[in-house]
Symmetry: C2
Amino acid sequence: MVTIADIAKIAGVSKSTVSRYLNGGSISDATRKKIERVIDANSYSPNKFAQSLKAKKTNIIGTIVPRLDSYATSQTLIGIDEQLRELDCQLVISNSSQDLNREIENIYSLAKQKVAGIILLATEITDGHLEAFRQAQIPVILVGQQHDQLHSIIHKDYESGYELGKYVLQKGHRNIAYLGVTEKDIAVGIKRKEGFKKAVEGQPDTLVHYFETSFNIKGAMERVPEIIEEYQPSIIVCATDNIALGALKAAYMKGLRVPEDLSLTGFGGYDITEITYPGITTAKFYYKEAGRMAAKDITKLVNGEELGKISFTKYEIIERESVDNLL
Amino acid sequence: MVTIADIAKIAGVSKSTVSRYLNGGSISDATRKKIERVIDANSYSPNKFAQSLKAKKTNIIGTIVPRLDSYATSQTLIGIDEQLRELDCQLVISNSSQDLNREIENIYSLAKQKVAGIILLATEITDGHLEAFRQAQIPVILVGQQHDQLHSIIHKDYESGYELGKYVLQKGHRNIAYLGVTEKDIAVGIKRKEGFKKAVEGQPDTLVHYFETSFNIKGAMERVPEIIEEYQPSIIVCATDNIALGALKAAYMKGLRVPEDLSLTGFGGYDITEITYPGITTAKFYYKEAGRMAAKDITKLVNGEELGKISFTKYEIIERESVDNLL
DNA sequence: TTATGTTTCGGAACCGGTTCCAATTGGTTC
DNA sequence: GAACCAATTGGAACCGGTTCCGAAACATAA
């Protein structure tokens, strides 16, 4: 390992001069050239630990994800990764495996690592989270959930729910099942549903039933047959694309044709919804873009810049073949 | 920030004594108790940078992945993450976005961070990789590809290809298309194909055509129609589940029923192959398990233990509905 | 009680950087 | 050539740990 002292000795200057060279202090042209030569002749690069030890901080951004095997997570991470690379920040990913306690532990652990900021792909914010953030004294950006004490980047859950609701009505559906998720998840469990509710309420001769399932495909597969049998909806509006995938499989297994016998919609815009047959109509969120924004925003916070509490990402209704036109 | 010096002062001992307490040196019972009390009264924990600076090493394992949005990557990472957590190692994930140069840069970058070991989810090993590893002087485990100079964990590509070949024959298929990928990818592009070839060669009255496409779904969607039109195979054996998904979509779009008009198989065992309709018959690899093994092995190497050059993960042919029985 | 051997402990150096401060150098101006 | 000011430079302290080494404390044996 070649150190700054070695460079200094070889170049015939002092450590402090080399350090100044590295950090842009005032230096004469002659010594600048000399040091430059020596440094890349010996391919020197400063020891990160020594730097962090002295600086008491790093340029690492910690990202906590609830799970690694999810489209939304992957895409968001890709966006974060790309942007942080441009900003010359290091990314550390911390997986909480959908365990809120582990999530909180991860906050403390990142704090001990002296990360400059934390991006949290949030599902639910508890007092434990807030306490951890308070103790850590580190800037935080939430992605996907809103909280009035924290900065967040959120998808337009309410608006997309509303627009999708209007779309479904416009296609002539009047007997609707909405298959949602737990209200603990404010964004997905409440906002989407509320937006949808707002869109369909007041529409004459329209029946809407609300159901709840888990986030995974299997859960939806099991839930959907009962719903169909009991209420015979012409459409099931699913709160996530995964749920829609489960519903699609369930429909197939019951021998129903989609969309002729049953229409479906999702939320998310996962790539796979384009590949299924039929393609699934869905409210597409721009996760990668959200990741990019999160990365930009966290570095702004780290640098002490001002920042609005909330940013929104755009969304788009992608019309495919899974919704029948009943009119 | 409370430091070791603070603890020492409060406890009325020297820094070295506290350090000994932390690292298991010889200490009298009385001072042990005293220090213990002070430490958790002040919730002290040692500064990682200072430790790493002195020790010139870390307990961080770097994992380089070619992409984040892939089933195989996610699952492998989950396995690595779980196992490293048990082994009290820190995981750092480095994404190369399928860019070999960036992959090599990432090796150097991890080396600069003084990671204890590197796990590489490999696609192709170039001289640049070898040179980087040589310079880094850090233990490496390859996952998914084999290389005689490096330790690796590989899936049984040849064997699974062979078994799937036999399966296809046994189902009575005699006009077969094999849709593979570039031979630059030894495991996926060559091994799987060779295993399959071995299984079908010598089978009388059997026609097999080999084709190549990219790794993504879209590529397969575009490639498959030509293949069907030109050769009318009864089955397309796809080198990855993604390719099979693309083929499935392409078949649907041509109005072909699967498996009645066209059979399909994949490799990988992605969860989604269970959800499509019909479910896709595939050779399932245990990525999570491979990740676990990689994590265990890299820590063994880090600790200087001996290790065989190659480990295999198991695989399994998952029979679903996408293969018609022609007999 | 003294000599000897073990534990236990403190002091100081070190890891590889950064930064403050004072000293030197060089260039201007009179 | 002296005086002055700004630009460069070197020395030393510091960040928060670990570790070597010698001193002190204690226990045991003679």
